[in-house]
Symmetry: C2
């Protein structure tokens, strides 16, 4: 019998995992969902630091659809920011993780913002032409209400003809009983089925619990309705990319 | 904010991970220590199902030192049992995990025992010539008192000149601050430094918390003192193997 269960320690698990992965070192994260499902990613260096020649077609499709100045939302280790910057374009890496921002800076990202999109709105930045959300960062929409807030916040810092270009995953492309049960539990409390409450763990650290939202393209289109954004282009599939255009 | 944190579900996580890994399928476990440290093993099929030609020198050293009839303690997917059985020798696979025993049976292990060593003692079996504990299963000694109980229980079901052949790890071969802090916390409550309280997680399942004991060869020799076992041969290193002989 254990005499104590004291961990994990709340902190910047994701950022510390990225810092540990700098230089190609082995670094592991575990994503833990609130139903207990654990999904390790033992390849932080490979998956979050990759040069464009290692990217998926979907990622290329997405980044090619950015125009003008770019805000990279949830920049992580800065792989997308660095690619845009290398093309000589104006790009800001935004992340709430101090470790992620430190990694971006160490890797040569010139413009970083440590904080949330709401924090950035308060600084009244020059409007961006493109918002970039690779790495399934459309999940940061979080929930029905979260999506509304984030889409409106992004509108507040973007040009009148701006685009949001991002990747996401379709939660319905599964027959895994754990996921199907999770969807059903969500429906019963009025959430969108693909809203997942997770935390990221690295060694003895865990982030606070937070929500990601996995939604179908149709659901995304519906979430856009009360905002200035409309689905304009789609790279279809269970792992999709999408362009939202401001109207 | 999460509305609920309901998982994981207590169950045979380890056995279910082995069952999922049958046939070379991808299967992942995460070992979670009570200080929050998580260590994924994404290669269950590779690491627990391997044929002898993929084994370490240490494992070969150990299995070659078994004699006569064998009890494979913590048999897992049965890799050691199957190797002994293939050599035409009498061997029993013991495991507390129903899933592990099911995997052993599916893979052709002829003699299985589902339960603990204490459970086996109660069946009054024919004494074994060798007890085998690969896969660092010397850790099953668990604690100072656990070691005493298990070593005496193994004596009760073994021949008068029997050996215990097993592998373990030296907890002091580290400079990882998390491990050093864990050792120190153990010392302060009177535990051996290398006693770790862990659970195994697989998908949404977690085993109950249990203790493993990592000890140096010197500590192991000390734990043997009040029992009929003595250290007789050592394959040295941070990952060691050892032969304990009954006196």
């Amino acid at each position: 019998m254990p005499s104590r269960v004291v961990g994990p320690i709340e902190g910047d698990a994701w950022g510390q995992a990225l810092l540990a992965g700098v230089g190609g070192h082995e670094s592991v994260i575990v994503v833990e969902r609130d139903d207990g499902l654990i999904e390790p990613d033992p390849f932080v260096s490979r998956n979050y630091f990759g040069e464009p020649d290692s990217w998926s077609d979907r990622d290329h499709w997405a980044i090619e659809r950015t125009v003008g100045t770019v805000l990279d939302v949830g920049a992580g280790a800065g792989r997308a920011t660095l690619a845009v910057q290398a093309a000589g374009r104006d790009v800001v890496a935004l992340d709430v993780s101090p470790g992620a921002i430190e990694v971006c800076q160490r890797r040569g990202v010139q413009q970083c913002f440590l904080g949330s999109v709401d924090d950035l709105v308060e600084t009244n930045p020059t409007p961006f032409d493109s918002i970039l959300a690779l790495g399934n960062n459309l999940g940061l929409l979080g929930s029905r209400t979260g999506a509304n807030c984030l889409l409106n916040a992004l509108a507040a810092i973007s040009a009148s003809d701006a685009v949001i270009v991002g990747t996401g995953l379709d939660p319905y492309a599964t027959d895994d009983p754990l996921h199907l049960a999770y969807h059903e539990a969500n429906r019963q409390v009025g959430r969108l089925p693909g809203q997942v409450t997770i935390r990221v763990r690295h060694r003895a650290l865990a982030t606070p619990w937070f929500d990601l939202l996995w939604c179908s393209i149709d659901e995304l289109a519906e979430l856009c309705e009360p905002t200035p954004w409309r689905v304009a282009d789609v790279y279809p599939g269970p792992l999709y990319a999408v362009v939202l255009r401001r109207v």
